[in-house]
């Protein structure tokens, strides 16, 4: 059972990682980001303003397709 490389095609914004291949453009993350850091473009999520992002994790929590998630936190140690 060959596993596909699931990391392929991720866009790492540091604070935030986006995986356009999985994004279905539902807009949930955009609507509920408390600081409006996200936007939709061509039916895919994009980061509108990475600086705004507080890494609150709401987008990750509510993305039905696991297409967006919080990157390594500043104060986090490497595993």
């Amino acid at each position: 059972m060959e596993k596909k490389d699931v990391k392929a095609g991720e866009i790492d914004h540091g604070k935030l990682v986006i995986k356009p291949a999985w994004c279905k453009g539902c807009g949930i993350c955009v609507a509920f980001c408390p600081v409006k850091a996200l936007a939709l473009e061509n039916d895919k999520v994009v980061v509108a303003d990475i600086d705004k992002c507080t890494q609150c994790g709401m987008c990750e929590l509510r993305c039905p397709d696991f297409a967006i998630y919080v990157g390594r936190r500043k104060n986090e140690k490497k595993a």
């Binding site: 596993k3 291949a21 539902c26 949930i28 929590l61 509510r62 039905p64 397709d65 998630y69 919080v70």
Partner: protein, 273 residues
């Protein structure tokens, strides 16, 4: 919770899921994985069982021993798994149709036996998989393809039903309240007996469209604005609660679990021989 969660608990090569854009089922599934992580379960000792429906496709994406059964029968299959191997954590993922329409009998009996199964009911108030027929949880007067003039059936309150049937842990959350959902599922996993967690999950494609609820975002907003935590509700006036629905933990009253009761018989018989 980095996406290590997805890597650890999902069959990432099967992603993205088959579900429609904005379908709540993905949010609920992620919440379950998060709860399993928090509960610290051994992946190889978890068995996830489902029936048939959009919701019931979830186990295919989860990296455990997963069993996709026949429509409505998940709890009956799961009862076999659990009784055969009580040391396993058995999780059932089911839909409102799967669990409360065709599967209603297995549901009340699993509750009654208080068998150690944690059931997460993805309630989207409709049969998603077959294209939008009304279900036993479709609110009265709303529409489905088989209720073109509005549904005249009363809807089940599945939490209430589970409680009276004998479930010992019962709670409800929504796709919007994903963090609460995770903690309810985690508590359910910690209950030895039968747990039911109702997860209100939006089906924008059918329920939303048929009933003019708008898109996925609108549906999430509706949950946000209409759900009241049972803790908060006790301090609210009836007027303030008008048109709202309750979420939170409704019941948590452990009782002896079925398979451990059975083990007692085996042990007793061993002694008596």
């Amino acid at each position: 919770m980095p996406s290590a969660l997805v890597e650890k608990y999902f069959r990432a090569d099967k992603l993205p899921q088959i579900w429609c854009p904005g379908c709540g089922h993905g949010i609920v599934t992620r919440a379950i994985a998060a709860a399993i992580e928090k509960a610290g379960l051994d992946k190889d000792k978890v068995c996830v069982v489902s029936g048939i429906g959009c919701s019931s496709r979830a186990p295919g994406y989860l990296d455990f021993n997963t069993l996709h059964t026949t429509h409505g029968r998940a709890l009956a299959f799961a009862t076999g798994v659990k009784l055969a191997h009580p040391e396993l954590k058995v999780i059932v993922i089911t839909g409102d149709g799967d669990c409360t329409a065709i599967g209603g009998n297995h549901f009340i009996h699993a509750c009654r036996r208080n068998i150690g199964i944690t059931t997460i009911l993805y309630n989207n108030n409709i049969y998603g998989m077959t294209g939008g027929q009304y279900s036993p949880t479709t609110p009265k007067f709303e529409k489905g393809t088989t209720a073109p003039y509005g549904n005249i059936d009363k809807a089940f309150d599945v939490c209430n039903l589970a409680s009276s049937a004998g479930a010992t842990y019962v709670g409800r959350s929504t796709a919007y309240h994903a963090a609460l959902l995770t903690s309810l599922v985690q508590n359910g996993l910690n209950n030895d007996g039968f747990s039911l967690i109702e997860a209100i999950s939006g089906c924008p494609t059918y329920y939303g469209r048929k009933n003019k609820k708008g898109d996925a975002v609108n549906m999430m907003e509706w949950y946000k604005n209409h759900a009241v935590n049972i803790a908060a509700a006790s301090k609210m006036t009836p007027e303030a609660l008008e048109g709202k629905f309750l979420i939170g933990e409704f019941k948590n009253s452990p009782e002896p679990e079925y398979t451990s009761e059975y083990q007692k018989i085996i042990d007793r018989m061993k002694k008596e021989r």
